[in-house]
């Protein structure tokens, strides 16, 4: 399906991580051993793996929720795992468990952001295809996707688009901080969370802004961390691949256009904003 979208492009985007993911109905018989075999099938380019607790199901719901609709359950004796599989360069990660597959890119050093259409999305598609084929070859059912998910993490370091808490309204359109100085008390930190509906009930955009120190090594940088996650139901009236494709595209477009719309012209100038129409 062609997407004629306004392509949002920054020469120096503040994005430090992107995640594309699919949540699917549980696959009967899929064990930790299968996940390990899947890792082995990826070959030498993915040398590092760790076990972490699995993530529960997450569904975006609309309207008044019922009492049980958000229910999650874990009664199995099987200690299910989530594998985090990293590549040699350390800038890609595959996360796989029963019910989820995610593909991460994280910025290493001064590396450029790999574009969604040209790099990250095709890589995710390839990995999903490999996973589906792996399940088929092992005699397991095909995964039935139920939610798509896209996440972008951005860092606004101090002394880039802001210098002090009193500047926090500058990178954003609309008020982030109510008052820098309130009757003798001085603004010191912030944590904010907004949710938007991707109408009509096609998904939800979660925006989280946190003030903190980031970085693997000291000295850590003081920054505003702006995380955007779009998530929604996979269209069951489409075949699985089309449903995932449409969902991830919707999530990506919502995030990049939302990020552009919520950030200021001054910040755009700093990041080298330029937009172009594309029909891809």
């Amino acid at each position: 399906m062609s997407r004629a979208t306004e392509r949002v492009s920054f020469h120096r985007p503040p994005v430090v991580e992107t995640v594309l993911g699919v949540q699917f109905d549980p696959v009967r018989g899929l064990t930790n051993a299968h996940l390990g075999a899947f890792w082995a099938s990826l070959g030498g380019g993915w040398p590092r793996v760790t076990d972490v607790p699995p993530l529960g199901d997450q569904f975006e719901q609309f309207g008044t929720p019922s009492a049980w609709s958000g229910m999650r359950l874990q009664v199995s004796q099987d200690p299910s795992s989530r594998l985090q599989i990293r590549n040699e360069a350390g800038d890609r990660m595959i996360q796989v468990q029963n019910r989820r597959l995610h593909y991460n890119w994280v910025r290493q050093g001064v590396a450029k952001y790999p574009r969604y259409e040209e790099t990250i999305r095709p890589e995710f598609d390839e990995m999903w295809k490999r996973f589906v084929a792996f399940l088929r070859d092992r005699g397991l059912d095909a995964p039935v996707p139920n939610q798509w998910e896209v996440t972008y993490v951005n860092h606004f370091p101090r002394n880039t688009v802001w210098s002090a808490p009193s500047d926090w309204s500058k990178p954003f359109k609309g008020a982030l901080a109510p008052l820098a100085d309130m009757n003798g008390t001085v603004l010191a930190s912030v944590r904010a969370y907004w949710r938007y509906e991707i109408q009509p009930q096609r998904g939800r955009l979660h925006v989280e802004v946190t003030h903190g120190f980031v970085g693997n090594e000291p000295p850590k940088n003081e920054a505003l961390i702006v995380k955007l996650t779009a998530r929604g139901p996979v269209n069951k009236e489409r075949d699985a691949d089309t449903g995932i494709d449409e969902g991830l595209n919707l999530g990506h477009d919502t995030i990049v256009q939302g990020f552009r719309d919520m950030t200021s012209d001054e910040a755009h100038e700093y990041w080298g904003y330029g937009n172009e129409r594309s029909g891809a």
């Binding site: 719901q61 019922s66 229910m71 998530r231």
Partner: protein, 139 residues
């Protein structure tokens, strides 16, 4: 739960700029009627599931495939897990007729059924005004 985003990122998390030991809302606020919800699940377990487990033949009929002891036991595990999570208890627990066990919850415009099927799968159905709104496998 749909208003939270579970952590899937690999970049290290931020250290709070302003460390504080203030308790979060969840630590300070006691949930209303937690004891009542737990009691509701206990009743399902004690008055129905345990009795069925002791005498599954009581559910046998020419109409109904009774749940096996294993399925009744799994239903008990489900009930205990949901009890411990503080989930609203069901209105009733019944055999589904196909060898499974079904928990039913009604509230306002909603009917919700959580079925432990004879093959051990667990499925949630949510009806709003008798229109099926959600069908989800939980296990």
């Amino acid at each position: 739960m749909s208003d939270q985003v579970l952590e899937t990122t690999m970049s290290p998390g931020a250290i709070p700029a302003v460390p504080t030991g203030a308790a979060g809302d969840q630590e300070l606020v006691m949930g209303a009627d937690v004891a009542g919800r737990k009691a509701g699940w206990e009743r399902m377990i004690n008055d129905y599931l345990i009795n069925w487990g002791r005498d599954p033949a009581a559910l046998e009929s020419d109409e109904v495939i009774a749940p096996t002891p294993d399925i009744i036991s799994l239903a008990g595990d489900v009930a205990m897990a949901l009890r411990d999570k503080g989930i609203d208890p069901p209105l009733r627990v019944v055999p589904d007729g196909d060898g499974g066990v079904c928990f039913e919850h009604r509230h306002g415009e909603f009917l919700e059924t959580l079925t432990v099927a004879s093959d051990g799968t667990v499925e949630l159905l949510v009806f709003r005004n008798c229109r099926l709104e959600t069908r989800r496998s939980l296990a």
